[in-house]
C-alpha cells in the first residue's frame, strides 16, 4: 500500500536533476502523508495521488525552465527545412540507387531486374529520409542551444524577408513532385531498355533471322547523354521545389534544359547511323519494298516527330517567358 506512494515519488523525481532529487523526494513524501488521514486505506492514497496529478506533469512543474529539442519559436522553420532537406536527400539517394541498379551487371530476368532496382531505390530513399531527419533535427537543436545563451528579443528590421512578388509565378509543389516521380520512373525504364535490352528490339525475319533496330555504337553515347539530361531535369525540379516560384535565373536554367534535351533528341534522330545499318535491308527482304522506299518512310516519320517536338519545346519556353515578363511588368 505504501508501495504506491514510493512508486509515485520515484516516478516524479527520476525525471528531475539529480541535485534536487533527494530534497523533493522528502518534501513530496511529507506533503503526501500530510494529505492522508491517520490510518490511510488504499482508496485514500489513490485519491491523494490522483489529486497531485500525473507524475510526468508534476515533474514538469518542478522543472522551472521550459526545455525543448526544437522550441515553438523555431518549429515552423524546422518543419519547413525538414520538408525541403528530406526531398533533396530522398531524390539524391533515389537517383544514386537507380544508377547503381542500372549499372549493376544483368544476370537475371528483366522482371526480376526491374523489381530489384525498384527495391534498392526505395531502400535508399528510406535511408535518405532518416538521414535528413537526423541532420535537420541536430542542426535545429544546435540553434536552440545557441539561442538560449543570447537575448531572445534581438532582431533587426533589415532581417525581414522581402514580400513575394507575384502569385502568377508560383510553382505548385504537388505538380513538381508528380513531375519528378514520372520523370524518374519513365526515364529509368527507358534507360534500362536502351542499355540492357536493346538487343531484343528489332526485326525477326520470316527466315527467323534477327536484326536489331538500334546501332549499338551510337546508342551507348545516347544513353549516357540521356542520363545527363535526366540528372539536370531532377536538379531543375528540386530547384523548383525549393524556390516555390519562377525567377529569371530559374527560367534560364529551365530554358537551357529544354534546349539541351531538344538538341539531344534531334541530334540523334537525324544521325544517319542511329538505326542499325542492316535493319532496312532485313525488312526489305521480307516486304518486297526497296531499301530506299523504307528509308524515305522512316525519314518522314522522323520529320513528323521533329516537328511535334519543336512545336512543344517552343510553346513551353515561350509560355514560361511570357508569364515571367508579364509578372515583372505588373510588378513595376
Amino acid at each position: 500500500m505504501k508501495d504506491l506512494i514510493e512508486r509515485y515519488i520515484y516516478a516524479v523525481v527520476r525525471r528531475l536533476p539529480e541535485a534536487s532529487q533527494e530534497e523533493i523526494k522528502e518534501e513530496l513524501k511529507a506533503n503526501i502523508y500530510d494529505m492522508l488521514p491517520g490510518n490511510p486505506t488504499e482508496e485514500h492514497i489513490t485519491k491523494v495521488l490522483y489529486d497531485l496529478g500525473s507524475p510526468r506533469d508534476l515533474a514538469v512543474k518542478y522543472q522551472a525552465k521550459e526545455r525543448y529539442l526544437v522550441s515553438p519559436r523555431y518549429y515552423d522553420d524546422y518543419i519547413h527545412s525538414l520538408k525541403i532537406v528530406s526531398m533533396i536527400f530522398v531524390l539524391i539517394s533515389m537517383v544514386s540507387g537507380l544508377i547503381e541498379g542500372i549499372l549493376a551487371p544483368v544476370e537475371t530476368e528483366i522482371f526480376e531486374h526491374i523489381v530489384s532496382i525498384i527495391a534498392s531505390t526505395f531502400a535508399e530513399a528510406f535511408q535518405g529520409l532518416f538521414g535528413a531527419f537526423a541532420i535537420v533535427t541536430l542542426v535545429f537543436w544546435g540553434i536552440e542551444q545557441a539561442q538560449l545563451k543570447t537575448s531572445r528579443c534581438e532582431w533587426k528590421v533589415s532581417d525581414l524577408p522581402e514580400l513575394p512578388k507575384q502569385n502568377a509565378l508560383k510553382i505548385s509543389r504537388t505538380e513538381t513532385i508528380f513531375e519528378i516521380v514520372f520523370e524518374t520512373v519513365f526515364s529509368v525504364i527507358f534507360i534500362m531498355i536502351l542499355s540492357h535490352y536493346h538487343t531484343w528490339i528489332g526485326y525477326y525475319s520470316e527466315a527467323n533471322v534477327f536484326t536489331p533496330f538500334f546501332n549499338p555504337d551510337v546508342l551507348g553515347t545516347f544513353v549516357l547523354l540521356f542520363i545527363v539530361s535526366l540528372l539536370s531535369a531532377l536538379c531543375l525540379s528540386v530547384l523548383k521545389l525549393i524556390k516555390g516560384r519562377w525567377s529569371s535565373n530559374l527560367a534560364i536554367f529551365s530554358t537551357l534544359y529544354d534546349l539541351f534535351s531538344f538538341g539531344l533528341l534531334i541530334f540523334f534522330l537525324t544521325q544517319s547511323n542511329f538505326v542499325h545499318p542492316d535493319f532496312f535491308q532485313a525488312i526489305s527482304l521480307d516486304s518486297g519494298l526497296s531499301v530506299a522506299e523504307i528509308a524515305s518512310g522512316y525519314e518522314t516519320a522522323i520529320r513528323v516527330i521533329i516537328i511535334i517536338v519543336t512545336i512543344t519545346t517552343i510553346l513551353s519556353i515561350s509560355t514560361l517567358w511570357y508569364k515571367i515578363i508579364k509578372a515583372k511588368h505588373k510588378g513595376r
Binding site: 518534501e27 511529507a30 506533503n31 502523508y33 500530510d34 489529486d51 506533469d57 512543474k61 522551472a64
Partner: protein
C-alpha cells in the same frame, strides 16, 4: 451556447496570476505545504496541490521564501516563510494588484 472548455481555460488563466499573490499573503507566518493548502482553501482560494508544492520550491529558489526542515515531530516537515525580499515584493505586488483592479473595474464600467 458558449464553449465550456474555452470558458474554463480563460478562468484558469485569469486566476493563475492571482494565485501567487494569495500564496504570498498567507506566508507571513511559517507554514508547511499542506497547512498552506488548507489555509488557502478556507479562504476559498482554489489551487491544486500539484501546483502549489512546485510553486513553493520555485519561490524559494527565487529568494522570496525561506525554508527549514522541522524534524522534531515523528515525520519531518518543510516549513516556508516570506523572506525580507519576499515581504518587500509582496507589498509592491499588492499595490500593483489594487491598481489593476481599479483599471479593470474602470474599463468594465
Amino acid at each position: 451556447m458558449i464553449d465550456q472548455s474555452i470558458l474554463n481555460n480563460l478562468i484558469v488563466e485569469l486566476r493563475r496570476g492571482t494565485q501567487i499573490l494569495a500564496v504570498l499573503s498567507s506566508l507571513s507566518k511559517t507554514q508547511y505545504g499542506y497547512s498552506l493548502l488548507q489555509t488557502l482553501e478556507s479562504k476559498n482560494i482554489l489551487i491544486e496541490a500539484g501546483t502549489l508544492y512546485p510553486l513553493l520550491r520555485r519561490l524559494e529558489s527565487q529568494g522570496l521564501l525561506t525554508s527549514q526542515w522541522d524534524t522534531s515531530e515523528s515525520r519531518p516537515r518543510k516549513y516556508y516563510q516570506l523572506s525580507d525580499d519576499g515581504m518587500e515584493l509582496f507589498v509592491t505586488l499588492k499595490k500593483e494588484w489594487k491598481n489593476i483592479q481599479a483599471e479593470i473595474n474602470a474599463a468594465l464600467e
